[in-house]
Symmetry: C2
Subunit: 122 residues, 2 copies
């Protein structure tokens, strides 16, 4: 019972692409926190190329880019979320939180039907 866990994955499909999902949202938050795609990729254990492709998919999915890269300047190459990027991330996180909250009671009742697992030893 203590080892039961609800997994909720919400994806916004857009044609053949996933415009937003758990990994992309985590990447947006990491870019906002670290100010660069390469640092965000590093903390997430992604290759730079993989992170860049995820950003590219997000940027082409919405009416405007979610991530902008500032070329040159003193901090050259700094990357940040656009206003739309911040809005999309916040809306997606709210949507996920709402889904989780809506099913908490049903989940608890369903989890009570699971058998007990031996406690792990570590």
């Amino acid at each position: 019972m203590s080892q039961a866990r609800l997994g909720l994955k919400i994806r916004l499909h857009h044609g053949a692409d996933v415009a937003m999902g758990p990994g992309k949202a985590e990447l947006l938050a990491a870019i906002a926190a670290h100010g660069s795609i390469s640092a965000a990729a590093r903390v997430m254990g992604l290759s730079y190329r993989r992170a860049w492709l995820l950003v590219e998919t997000m940027n082409r999915s919405f009416t405007q880019p979610l991530v902008s890269t500032l070329a040159g300047g003193k901090r050259g190459g700094g990357t940040q979320l656009t206003a739309l990027g911040e809005q999309v991330l916040r809306r997606y996180q709210n949507l996920c939180a709402k889904a989780e909250a809506a099913v908490q009671q049903d989940y608890t009742e369903l989890a009570e039907l699971l058998c007990s697992l031996p406690e792990e030893a570590d």
Copy 2:
């Protein structure tokens, strides 16, 4: 916009197993409809072995089995959901429906931020 779609995958993790999820729920419904694991596997495009392993995982995850096989008899080998199997399937489906309903408005607002895709030509 018309090509936007909300994808919601809800899994009930139990230790290292997934006790219930979209594929297992579909399999339970197919077993209930067809009265056999092999027929259910066929309609889902799964191998018999894969379907059997999914059933085995479900059966060991809950306090009692969700699927029972009646050996012998005139219809020999008939397979059906137990009372617990029907209950778990219904509860899981209700949980998913509740999550979908809870995020419908947020999803619509998020989808309005997607760019338009060219209509497919088929």
